[in-house]
């Protein structure tokens, strides 16, 4: 984009429920949800691992559904509930998926982990007792380069077995 073409993008007031608390922000119309989370809300648990929609590291829940925040506009979340990895642990206790990923080594370098856990949480909310094939399908958009996925599947299975 040449200088003269650079349009001043309008901001819009967005009201969304972020990890359980409603907040209102003036958001540029082209701001991606991942940038809103990381830069505006300071929630850096959601990662950017690619140039858009390739790796799943930015997966968050929007109204309970797992979505890549790097190809979601922040303004599209107006009136909706957005959940990130930071919202999972409650009352000083790890969420069952966090505990399982920690104890079973579903996380090595940890960079894909927040997205992986959020995608798994999306699955467990729809399907509390998934089979391996369902786990594989639900996480197929989330790349991990460390684990070979073996312990990720074990972690999700363990979390499902642990129940709510």
């Amino acid at each position: 984009m040449a200088e003269h073409e650079q349009a001043i993008l309008a901001k819009r007031l967005v009201r969304l429920r972020l990890n359980g608390s409603w907040r209102e922000e003036a958001v540029a119309e082209n701001q991606l949800l991942v940038d809103f989370l990381r830069e505006t809300a300071g929630l850096t648990g959601t990662k950017t691992g690619c140039d858009g929609g390739e790796c799943g590291a930015c997966t968050v829940l929007v109204d309970g559904e797992a979505l890549p925040a790097c190809v979601t506009l922040a303004i599209r979340c107006d009136g909706r509930s957005v959940e990130t990895i930071e919202g999972l642990a409650k009352g000083g206790r790890l969420h069952r998926l966090q505990r399982a990923f920690h104890e079973k080594l579903g996380s090595q370098c940890g960079f894909c982990t927040p997205g992986m856990i959020m995608a798994a949480e999306g699955l467990l909310r729809r399907t509390p007792h998934p089979g391996d094939a369902e786990i594989r399908t639900a996480l197929s958009g989330n790349l991990c380069r460390c684990t070979g996925y073996v312990k990720i599947i074990e972690s999700v299975r363990a979390a499902a077995d642990a129940g709510e």
């Binding site: 984009m1 990662k47 370098c109 940890g110 197929s140």
Partner: protein
């Protein structure tokens, strides 16, 4: 209240909770409000002389704070002191598309990108070479004036008498494998945050490095700053696999920008940029010849490897040496000849990747051994068993081997996979294959000779009863900090929770060479144990003093210091710690480790590469289903056994082995970096296909503990050794399933279909009685 019980074996990572909660801060997550945004202008051509680089317009844009070019750094950097030929920003010439030429720091990304677009760049294009053959051809223009034939390094090694070995063989065969260039594709893209403080002339660099010490050295060199003016910190790192095992141009560029801007600069490379300037495993052509006696005994091995190294030296010399040196150390081979050629080409410089140097030659070796075993009617396991080494021993090229669990690895996977019961009795399209591999536990000779120990760990015990381990070893996700905590806890007989590890901050932690060649467990682990032993001695002395006993009359276990004679006379760790601090104050001890000279390889040129304190050994069986109609290969299951000496943390060892096997699977099945006129054709994670969870098999791990006499608690490496065996095991399994021998990696559906068509054509000709 901490309970001081003995640590259990197999524990989660000590920083695991930070990772699963999203609290872990990777470089791009660091507080950077107010930091400038860095962006790099890259060469649009593969090879050319720079005629004009004009950054005046960029510099004059509002919001642009600094612009740097090759003129801002006159020092080349690199890995080996003898082969530093790369500048952080190109000077005079560009040698690959995507090479950094200039960089800007601006108040925001949009301004920085606008500045890049206003840079005027003119080159006189030179002929560009994208494969080793054309780069080596007569009359090819040199990429580097001092390298005729565009040959970075030729290696010629002969050990034993290969001619006699081949003459004595009952069967001599050759194989030639084309192995595609593959990429680390670590999940965290490259990023650096540099802060220059003009009033004190100090630079603080936080980066994704696996080698913060070398980064520190190269920053001082390139910026002409005193080493003591620089601080290098490694935050959480999202994987490496060798991607950050050398200092990267963008790191130095970020520092140059920060100094020019007299402030703070955050540089985040896009995923595309990660591919544009990657440092991956080179495209390699391996020709290998083996002689076998009728009983399967290897009589000689001859190997030629040609690596397309890319535009600059990087790790090249080390990679081409590893490829030859690690032909040995796995089996007992009486004669080995190796010719290696590392060739420059107008592509991103290749570097070190998991299994550095060994993977493609090992692949070809194992593939050929399997085919020859078949021809001789020998079982693949039997032919390996016929050639086992016996530890302790030294190979022909003077590699020291003190522990060797390959035989047990073979037994374990043979049993677990029910090899003999199932192979040859499987439904059509299904097959089993196996292969072996090994890898070093650290390079016994450091890259830069300083006379210092190979590893140093400091321990601090303070009034609060906590023990802090300070190590320069960068944990990049492999769990090295957890390893350090465990060996200290085990040595002291204290629970893991008492140990805190602070890693890789040059202002706080002792120097460490970094996370490469799987050196940390062996070297840093031993240094940590040395430190813990010294601290234990001090604690026992204090307990003895307090209890009126001699130190030798006291033993320490499960956090209790007890009299050997009178079990009731005992002190808890916190009381002993308090006593130990009387008249002393805070206790600090230092542990070190140095590789003994006998581990440092032969006297021949390049003999240091491959030399190590101990090798890990692996055997694996791969089961596949092949769809002959589509060429699609499904890996149904992998059984792998790895001898890691002693599993300090069995949970982490399993995870590392699974990750290595799986990464080998990516290279075997689908990963390939191709170029179109020097531009990567696969510069995203959608196009560069790493396996997803949907197509990744169960990987059943068996840990073999050979207890290395010099390893920390007997341990050796566990992260790399299993990788190289996957691809040849897969190729053998495909041959077993559908009867074709694949020579190129990756074994894509296209290549497999082509091979199946050829096979059918040959079969048809035979049935028609035609000559082949």
């Amino acid at each position: 209240m901490t309970s001081d019980a003995t640590p259990a074996r197999g524990v989660p990572l000590i920083d695991g909770i930070d990772k699963v909660t999203g609290r872990a801060r990777y470089t791009a997550d660091l507080e950077h409000r107010g930091a400038l945004v860095g962006r790099i202008f890259r060469s649009p051509v593969s090879h050319g002389e720079i005629l004009r680089l004009d950054v005046t317009r960029a510099r004059s844009l509002e919001g642009v704070i600094a612009v740097v070019t090759g003129a801002d750094c006159r020092h080349a950097y690199g890995v080996l002191p003898v082969a530093m030929n790369e500048f952080p920003l190109a000077r005079d010439k560009v040698r690959y598309r995507g090479e950094p030429v200039a960089a800007v720091a601006a108040v925001d990304a949009a301004t920085a990108e606008r500045a890049l677009r206003s840079i005027a760049f003119e080159v006189r294009e030179l002929p560009a070479y994208y494969d080793a053959d054309s780069a080596r051809a007569q009359g090819a223009v040199r990429l580097h004036d001092d390298k005729p034939g565009n040959l970075e390094r030729a290696v010629h090694h002969v050990f034993g008498d290969p001619a006699a070995g081949f003459a004595a063989a009952d069967l001599v065969r050759e194989a030639s494998c084309e192995c595609a260039e593959v990429n680390h594709a670590q999940m965290e893209p490259h990023a650096a945050l540099a802060e220059y403080e003009p009033l004190t002339d100090r630079l603080t660099m936080q980066s994704v490095s696996q080698v913060p010490y070398y980064l520190h050295l190269m920053l001082a060199r390139c910026l002409e700053m005193g080493e003591s003016q620089i601080r290098v910190i490694k935050p959480f790192v999202g994987g490496g696999f060798g991607a950050r095992v050398e200092v990267l141009n963008f790191e130095i560029v970020t520092a140059l920008l920060a100094r020019a801007a007299r402030g703070r600069v955050l540089m985040e490379l896009s995923r595309e940029e990660n591919f544009l300037t990657h440092r991956a495993r080179p495209q390699t052509t391996v020709r290998l010849k083996l002689g076998l006696a009728r009983d399967g005994r290897i009589t000689a091995c001859e190997c030629e490897a040609v690596q397309r190294g890319g535009a600059y030296a990087g790790y090249g010399i080390v990679t081409i040496l590893y490829a030859g040196a690690l032909l040995q150390g796995l089996y007992d081979i009486p004669a080995v000849k190796y010719d290696g050629y590392r060739v420059y080409a107008n592509l991103p410089p290749c570097g070190a990747m998991r299994g550095h140097g060994s993977v493609n030659t090992r692949h070809t070796f194992e593939v050929l051994l399997d085919r020859m075993a078949r021809e001789l009617g020998l079982d693949p396991f039997a032919v390996r068993r016929r050639n086992l080494l016996r530890a302790p021993t030294r190979t022909l090229n003077e590699l020291m081997i003190n522990s060797y669990g390959l035989g047990e690895c073979l037994d374990r996977v043979e049993r677990a996979s029910a090899w003999h019961e199932r192979r040859g009795r499987m439904p059509p399209g299904k097959g089993l294959g196996m292969a072996c591999s090994h890898y070093v536990s650290g390079a016994a000779k450091p890259i830069h000779w300083t006379g210092e120990p190979h590893a140093v760990v400091n321990l601090k015990l303070d009034w609060d009863g906590s023990i802090t381990a300070l190590t320069g070893a960068p944990d990049i996700g492999q769990g090295s900090s957890t390893m350090v905590a465990i060996v200290i806890a085990e040595t002291l007989g204290l629970p893991l929770e008492r140990i805190r590890v602070i890693a890789a901050d040059s202002a706080i932690t002792p120097k460490d060479n970094g996370a490469y060649s799987s050196r940390i467990t062996f070297m840093v682990g031993n240094a940590a144990i040395d430190a813990a032993r010294q601290l234990k001695e001090r604690l026992i002395e204090a307990a003895a003093r307090k209890m009126g006993l001699q130190p030798r009359e006291i033993e320490c276990a499960a956090g209790v210091f007890q009299s050997l004679a009178v079990p009731q006379a005992a002190m808890t760790f916190p009381d002993v710690a308090k006593e130990a601090l009387v008249d002393q104050g805070t206790l600090t001890v230092k542990g070190t480790f140095t590789c003994p000279p006998e581990s440092q390889g032969g006297k021949h040129k390049g003999g240091a590469v491959g030399s190590t304190m101990g090798f890990s050994y692996a055997a694996q069986v791969v089961e596949v289903s092949v769809d002959a109609a589509t060429g699609q290969i499904t890996v149904d299951k992998v059984w792998v056994a790895l001898d890691c000496g002693y599993a300090i943390n069995p949970l982490a060892v399993q995870g590392q082995i699974q990750g290595a096997v799986w990464m080998g699977m990516g290279q075997a099945l689908c990963e390939e970096t191709r170029y179109l006129d020097g531009l990567p054709a696969h510069a995203s994670l959608l196009e560069y296909r790493v396996p997803t969870i949907a197509e990744s098999p169960p990987i059943e791990v068996q840990i073999v503990e050979s207890i290395d006499p010099l390893g920390p608690l007997g341990a050796k490496e566990a992260s790399e050794g299993a990788l190289a065996g996957f691809a040849p095991a897969l190729v053998a399994a495909v041959a077993n399933a559908v009867g074709v021998d694949m020579d190129a990696l990756p074994v894509t559906p296209d290549r497999l279909i082509e091979a199946l068509v050829q096979l059918r054509r040959r079969a048809r000709r035979r049935s028609l009685g035609a000559k082949p």
